[in-house]
Symmetry: C2
Amino acid sequence: MQLDQASTEQIREWESALSAEYEQHKAAGLSLDLTRGKPSSDQLSLSDAILGVLGNDLSNDGGIDLRNYGGLDGIAECKRLFAPVLDVNEDEILIGGNSSLTLMYFAVLFASQMGFGDLGKGWKAGGDTVKFLCPVPGYDRHFSVCEHLGIDMIPVAMNDNGPDMDQVESLVKADSSIKGIWCVPRFSNPTGIVYSDDVVARIAKLATLAGDNFRVFWDNAYAVHSLSDNAPKLASLMAAARKAGTEDSVYLFGSTSKITYAGAGVAFVGMSAANLKAFKAHLGMTQIGPDKVNQLRHARLLKDSDGLAEHMRQHAAVLKPRFDSVLKHLNEGIGDSGLLSWTAPQGGYFISVDTLPGLAKQVVAMAADAGVKLTPAGATFPYGQDPEDRNIRIAPSVPSLEEIDRAMQVFVNCVKLASVRQRLAN
Amino acid sequence: MQLDQASTEQIREWESALSAEYEQHKAAGLSLDLTRGKPSSDQLSLSDAILGVLGNDLSNDGGIDLRNYGGLDGIAECKRLFAPVLDVNEDEILIGGNSSLTLMYFAVLFASQMGFGDLGKGWKAGGDTVKFLCPVPGYDRHFSVCEHLGIDMIPVAMNDNGPDMDQVESLVKADSSIKGIWCVPRFSNPTGIVYSDDVVARIAKLATLAGDNFRVFWDNAYAVHSLSDNAPKLASLMAAARKAGTEDSVYLFGSTSKITYAGAGVAFVGMSAANLKAFKAHLGMTQIGPDKVNQLRHARLLKDSDGLAEHMRQHAAVLKPRFDSVLKHLNEGIGDSGLLSWTAPQGGYFISVDTLPGLAKQVVAMAADAGVKLTPAGATFPYGQDPEDRNIRIAPSVPSLEEIDRAMQVFVNCVKLASVRQRLAN
């Protein structure tokens, strides 16, 4: 189906056939959901041994009573296990509770208002405006942290190898009120791309162009979440920052939310020792320490980097057929028609598609009418505003293969029908 | 030993004898610690069944997959279990992670900066100064939350039945920038007193005297932590607030930190439905949900109010002899000499003593020199400043009975020696 080369009569015929198909979908009374970037029950079950993994043995490296208060930066076993995930030293990581979002929220709060200890005052100490760069499409919960804490957002374009660094560099050079950038560097949410080595190196150098205490918020949520062993590797941001002498400018986040239990995992943050000292001083005002017993469960279950890698291969075995099904429907149903562009991620949780301009909201609404729920169009942009109304995020992890197959039939039909109708209307 | 009625010669003799005893203590090379308000290992072991209590059975009232994301307000089983602890309805409680301090921190942050949803803007929305009333002596971590979030603190006197309400009422009437008050209403930290019914009723009415969106921060940390079944009961703040029409003015906090595992428990907050709606909207910016698996562990272990009460009786059996030992030393060693006044709490974790004016720091220092660590004098006051330098907090839960016995010999000796030396110097 090539709209550009088709006669109006041909397009009218397509519209008619697609409408008929759409009515059939609607009549089927479907209730399918492609919205949720969370693990399926099958994936969660891969970690069920965690429930009993401790027995009654709480012995640990520190020889401390893990049941009691204390240990703000987490247990040694988890530092050893997760420091390599972020490629930081074991004295540069803090292991927290079940939410990396909470660590990110606190990191932005402290940086804005309470400062960096010996490294300087908070961004807003003088009542200044603070702005963050937000590669788009991106992760809505990053944007809501900024909104909640009164930080303005500037969207920047996302390319196949990461953010448009020419744009990023020229922005931070021109405006010293830009204090941060959000990044999901491996299997980016939602486009699934992996930042190239060159982009990582340029991000590490941003602090040399920016105003005081610029920070990269490196949300490595999918650090070990590849669909195959051949997936692209991510260069080490901390190594690049050390080389550039900017190691105080990077905060690296990760969690086991998509490794063990999404709601009962452990989160972690990597920072230079100077940053970590200040961060801990502030974090200690909000809590006495994390759940160290649950941390030990994780260390016992996953053991080491090899154990973690093997565990993630089991996740990939569950996830890959789902991604393959989505891509098969897009390739076979839409192909090179130009009606849709999409990514073919080699890891992560999402497939991002761009419709023809002005159609994303309509496609989402049409799919909803036919019983297929999609993430609201615009959710992947700051303030929920996709200026071209093109981007839709597809999350295939939760539905079964049968459900994905059915939902994608509907989705492809909606994309084509919306495109054909737009052409006829113009 | 009655200093007031003694001759100088007599006092010199006492000084000599007490000094000799003190030197003996110093020579003994002790290393004892009465600082930590945390459960002993014996107490933590009372909950060890929690490690295996789930087996592989995660079935729950909601029939949801507790392993996954979601459920910001916690699981129904825990709401049912803990709502009676705060005496709120089950739709007026949120069950969180392992730290009530975190819930309190967020509550102050949101109230200051982000507001109360339909109930009004944040206290600092107009750049206004915000002040809290702090009954003293009190809990240092409450004070550090205020300091961290830029809230001024006004100490108010603590009586045997709660804060001096005449003082509290006149302050909130006179100054509308007073927006909150910290309370540990049952077995107060550190004095161990229980707020009287009259004080609770007057606290519930404070919002009728104060400026907009005044909030009572009711940290009911020791709600069920009595040393005997006969301990004084606490009147229900929420009931009093409903009666006064001020139910939106109270935030009630609790946790299992001193019920199950101090570092791996669950915390909860009770609020009116209107407050909870706003609080959840803000909290949802910081996290997706709490560790629901650990919540289910708690519901299975403690079962219901009877199970909780029985569990707390086991704690009391461990704690009561420790409190008794401290009090025995104070009664026998100091008695009615007037050198020290103290409380005899019927629950909680602390015994609070007041030395003669100007001696608390010195007593703490002398005890430290003799190998007995006490909480720093002043820690129980905002900004660490005890204007009369009198208050010392004794925490007897962690040391063994033998250690308490030895440490209290030293403590009593230090109090008497410091008092005698002060008299000789004046």
